[in-house]
Symmetry: C2
Subunit: 480 residues, 2 copies
């Protein structure tokens, strides 16, 4: 990359070190992932951003189906009376609900909520569909839009409307519900780590951080490059809370009426924000090959010279046929240098340059987006070599993120250590279990408890806040 | 099928000849495609129904992408001021808009419409994104939910909320926009005819039937088994109507500011209703193999006998690996007869019975849902034979539907012939072009003009209504 190009980027994208938040905004707008909509707090997901979402959907959906889940579609609107049925739930969501009060020219008798989440409507249907234990489990999921009337919004991270999937399942026994809750967390972890190359910490939420109406909430937490936490997916075990409110009963194997045990779980377009803030750099996005809409961009060099355009087209067809997601950038209105910048900004994992010298040597020149390393690739073994290269890039992005994260997790033993640790990363601490300690930490540091990891190997024996005896290992961090 | 089973069906599904509308309702509820929601006019799409929609989406989406379209996501809510910008458009949609007036605890300053369709928001974004002719065309599509506050509703056919895709494209020239409008109609025709095995009549809508704000609307019209028309997909050429209202201008090749030429087009979950009413029979659904969620159901016969369960499992794995969508019905709580009824109701194209006698003969017994014909299939050539059989069923369903339709299209020359023809099917007539004649026909017969087919070979020279000189060939029918 030449000096002038570098300068151009300095002008365009705010450096991460200077203002991480502005860097994020610069990157998402310039890479054309998203745009602001003429509706308060809502976003327009542009083709390049939506193509990432489609990749995430595909990878998650096939795992949902492989674990026995089926997709359905429930109505967007939920009558107020239905939303009010589970007390904790309505308390948690009512303040951020958008209400429909008019249909055509008539004023509605009852307000209708645009779903902030769909537990209540799934429950209403489950109570209608379940008869006996033979009908269980029911393991349904839906891909849809939801709306939460947020006060301050940021594209992908927190918007009034967003896209997500919400799984809702009902089971015979508490054990099965718990197993489902943990299984889906593990499916999420696999999607995050294998597809998004994003390491996550999985564990249980504290009672004050759990979902409105849940008995237990589990989350996967990722660390962004500014050291802040992003809750990237949650799964909930409701026990019989909703079943009791909605009277979802089944005739058990013993011939008794019993309440079902229920779970729900969700990931959203927020994951796109997580990818950006996990992998991006000063030049823009760096997309993991497995979810990149374009894995390889071919840029012809000196395209006017004999054979270059032909060879570029030939390679494009060859790689497309081999199953890669490939783009041939044959624009004749911009220079190769402009194209390099453009595709680096868009985070395409591999750029393949093909020029007269390459052709003379029966090769192309591959440039990795993750390391900017440049190396010749023989045309004879192109597909095979690129497959390896993409795997390497995928792994390297994961390793870089894991290294950065692990270097910023600090075992802390008192408030002063905690306060310092959460300036740059996660604090791993002992906690007595008292919500008052969580509150105090939040008040004093703005950090919140993230989750209690499954590996509970102690890092001390006294609560990081009150000093009393403590047996819970927990992460604290500032969070998105 | 035994007598008792037949009796069971007579009790369950109203015969088509007796009450087609009740037959439809019986079939969609009993086959568990859909259920009524606790929200006025809305439906719950159950797993089996949603799986059909996923198949339709896949088949349509790959064709959209192959013709150069990209998916995006636009906000659900549209500010009233934006909806009001194009006069005809708002007039067409305002009466059926659901309005959000409250967000959380605040009353909104401006009402927000839940999108009945998204022309206005696409236009707002296009006006922001387009600079010069180099940015054109922009060919975007979105898969989403929309809402129209309908007075009377029927699942799939007309509901307050439904799922659809809406393509929105902008172009440099009127010719390109027209080409796009016709190309997408042809894509729809291909999806309908090749995937849904549903023959359609393509043509242009009359001015009174066109979309609010369009210069020209084209449709594909299918005939249901009761002879009524179902508009199965529409494409619109807006000319510069919306571009002028929303100021979508680009710098042309001549350096002048010009308005873009715009199109939009959509198909919806309505197609599921169309499949049911095109192919269904007294036993329930008959699904075309290409969109059937389950193409082959394996039913073990005398499963307790040695080797049957093993062989059924082996065949299941073999067919699944060969790429078929297969279900093994190994329930031990119901009889084979019950299973036969169940999968016939659900319209699975092929039932494969495997019993001791089959195994002894190295065969299985295949039963076609379309004809109920039963024939042995050698296990040795099973995959190959089933592939052929599914292709045959797909073709036969199309042929049956085309035959039924063609037999019910009548060339008519006066009002009396037209009135009779639309009792049982479509009337093909000459029309002078005067909307007053369409009105009169609608008043007298409840039939509406469907479209003017591309093949305008005359069926007379006088208007079917007023008798004046007429040069337009047009279809009239009662419609869903």
């Amino acid at each position: 990359m030449g000096k002038q190009d570098e300068k151009k980027f300095v002008e365009h994208i705010t450096p991460r070190s200077e203002d991480f938040s502005q860097w994020y905004t610069d990157v998402i707008l310039q890479s054309e992932l998203v745009d602001y909509a003429p509706v308060r707090g809502c976003m327009v997901i542009r083709p390049y951003g939506y193509a990432i979402w489609e990749r995430i959907q595909q990878e998650a959906d096939r795992r949902f189906k492989a674990t026995g889940h089926e997709n359905v579609y429930m109505p967007l609107l939920i009558p107020e009376s239905l939303l009010l049925k589970e007390a904790e739930h309505v308390e948690g969501f009512a303040p951020e609900v958008a209400w429909v009060t008019q249909g055509g020219n008539e004023t509605l008798q009852e307000r209708l909520a645009i779903r902030p989440t769909s537990e209540t409507i799934f429950c209403a249907m489950y109570s209608k569909w379940v008869g006996s234990w033979r009908d269980l489990p029911m393991k349904y999921n839906q891909w849809c839009n939801v709306m939460r009337w947020e006060k301050s919004t940021r594209p992908f991270l927190r918007t009034s409307e967003f896209l997500w999937q919400e799984g809702h399942t009902i089971h015979e026994t508490p054990e099965e519900a718990q197993e489902e809750t943990l299984q889906m967390l593990d499916v999420y972890r696999e999607v995050a780590e294998k597809e998004l190359a994003m390491p996550v910490l999985c564990g249980r939420k504290s009672d004050s951080e759990k979902f409105a109406g849940a008995v237990a909430t589990y989350s996967m937490e990722a660390m962004m490059q500014d050291g802040k936490a992003l809750q990237a997916g949650t799964t909930h075990n409701f026990g019989t809370n909703f079943a009791e409110a909605f009277e979802i009963q089944y005739l058990s194997r013993d011939g008794k009426l019993e309440y079902v045990h229920e779970t729900s779980w969700g990931i959203s377009t927020r994951l796109i924000g997580a990818i950006i803030m996990t992998h991006g750099d000063e030049r823009g996005l760096r997309l993991p090959p497995r979810i990149a809409p374009i894995q390889i961009v071919i840029v012809p060099i000196a395209a006017h010279k004999g054979g270059v355009t032909e060879k570029a087209n030939e390679v494009f067809r060859q790689l497309t046929d081999a199953g890669f997601r490939v783009k041939l950038d044959d624009r004749d209105t911009v220079s190769p240098g402009f194209k390099f910048n453009d595709w680096e900004l868009k985070g395409v994992p591999v750029r393949l340059e093909i020029g007269p010298r390459d052709i003379a040597n029966d090769q192309a020149t591959a440039v990795r987006r993750d390391t900017c390393e440049k190396a010749p690739v023989a045309l004879k073994t192109l597909a095979e070599d690129l497959r390896k290269l993409l795997d390497e890039i995928q792994q390297n992005l994961f390793d870089q993120a894991a290294k950065l994260r692990d270097g910023r997790i600090t075992d802390v033993h008192d408030m002063s250590e905690l306060t310092e640790a959460v300036q740059t990363g996660f604090a791993k601490a002992m906690w007595c279990g008292d919500p008052a300690c969580e509150d105090k930490i939040k008040q004093e540091t703005t950090a919140t408890s993230r989750n209690m990891p499954f590996d509970q190997t102690p890092v001390g024996d006294a609560c990081v806040c009150c000093g009393r005896k403590a047996d819970k290992v927990i992460y604290f961090a500032k969070a998105y």
